[in-house]
Symmetry: C2
Amino acid sequence: MNLLLLESSEIGTDQVATVEGPRARHLRLVLRATIGRPVRIGIVDGPTGTGTVLTLDDERATLQCVFEAAPPAIPAVDLLLALPRPKVLQRLWAQIAALGVGRILLTNAERVERNYFDTHVLDPVVYRPLLIEGLQQARDTRVPVVSIHRQFRILVEDELDGLCPQSTRLMADPEPYATEVTAAPPRPPGAAAPATADVSARTLLAVGPEGGWNDFERRLLEVRGFRRVSLGARALRSDTACIALLTLASAGVWTGRPDCPS
Amino acid sequence: MNLLLLESSEIGTDQVATVEGPRARHLRLVLRATIGRPVRIGIVDGPTGTGTVLTLDDERATLQCVFEAAPPAIPAVDLLLALPRPKVLQRLWAQIAALGVGRILLTNAERVERNYFDTHVLDPVVYRPLLIEGLQQARDTRVPVVSIHRQFRILVEDELDGLCPQSTRLMADPEPYATEVTAAPPRPPGAAAPATADVSARTLLAVGPEGGWNDFERRLLEVRGFRRVSLGARALRSDTACIALLTLASAGVWTGRPDCPS
């Protein structure tokens, strides 16, 4: 935990936060917080800041808080993810939040098993603490907005433009062998980045199910402006693939965004 | 499993491979292989090919094999990794092999706990099946060469030039806040890729321990030609960071290699 994320309800009008139970113990035993020492803090969906430990025992800690003026920016990538098997999704929640996405849209697809939708891993009571864990790891406060869509076609045709307007749309498919992958032509050496490159622009990355999108889904995504991208010839486990794809999308590798990591 | 990886000892002079036990069951029950149907196969560190099922029962399968002329290329990235905690390394073996590396050099560092070296996860009997699992996922045959180095300084000063000659050397550090990160200047828009870009060139990526390299280690790596790279401001869990860093290194994001994924 690189940042202690507080709910605004935990902070009094005097800017003193009270933290109880396992989080107080974590502060003391893992982060080795001591009275008078500053701790990096944040408010869920609010600004980050510094908390100075006022009192600390096994069950309770109080912190005097000072916050930045503005919350951090919302991560520039949204993820449209065909619902993975529950065990994989359980592993992914914290990692997706740590990598940073604005929205997570979980969708049905032909190759998604219907009973995946019945899992407790889709219950906010289960996944919200995992998202918070990822944010505390990454020192972010912006909880990804999660939505669950049982009808792929309605999502893509009717809802997506409203949920993710004006995004560069990318479609990753784990089955490069199933059909020909038509990649955008590579930028010729010496050519400048596309004129549309814009730091404020958002990217919407669609990641298919383990067996890949079917032809209908692939065509529907293409018709709605999704350009195919790929990790190359290596087939990765769906959680590894999701992390790798989010990393490349966030780095602007496919969109020419100028914030490619140094 | 997207490829059945065979040891050369499993293949007879008649090019008939015999597969027994759990792998025969996996062929039948998971891959739904049937007699006469082709299965994608490979020889450990050898070529890939196709195996046509000759016989198949619960305990044993035989396959008539045809192989490509040459084995696949060795992945262009080598990984110098400060030994992670055993639980993390256990999770990482298959994922590193699936992402593709030529070598995995596991090293000591100040912030690596000494008892990590005593783990069974460093036993080839434990990790080799995990590497094979990752290769079968990624349809590769090249088993990463693993070496374990208990003395960081001797590794970096005396052994590295021999083990990984002529590589572009990159150093990732999980603590961007600890010291100033001096990145190589970004390529100006419109500038061509560096003249040294060469598909055959190798990259050696050094990934630090959870707490980061210490100043001595960082300086030693810099003196030996490692350029600092970073994932940006987000701090990731060490396994997520390792996957993200390998993805970006393999994509040539930091080296201008022309095989950036489309």
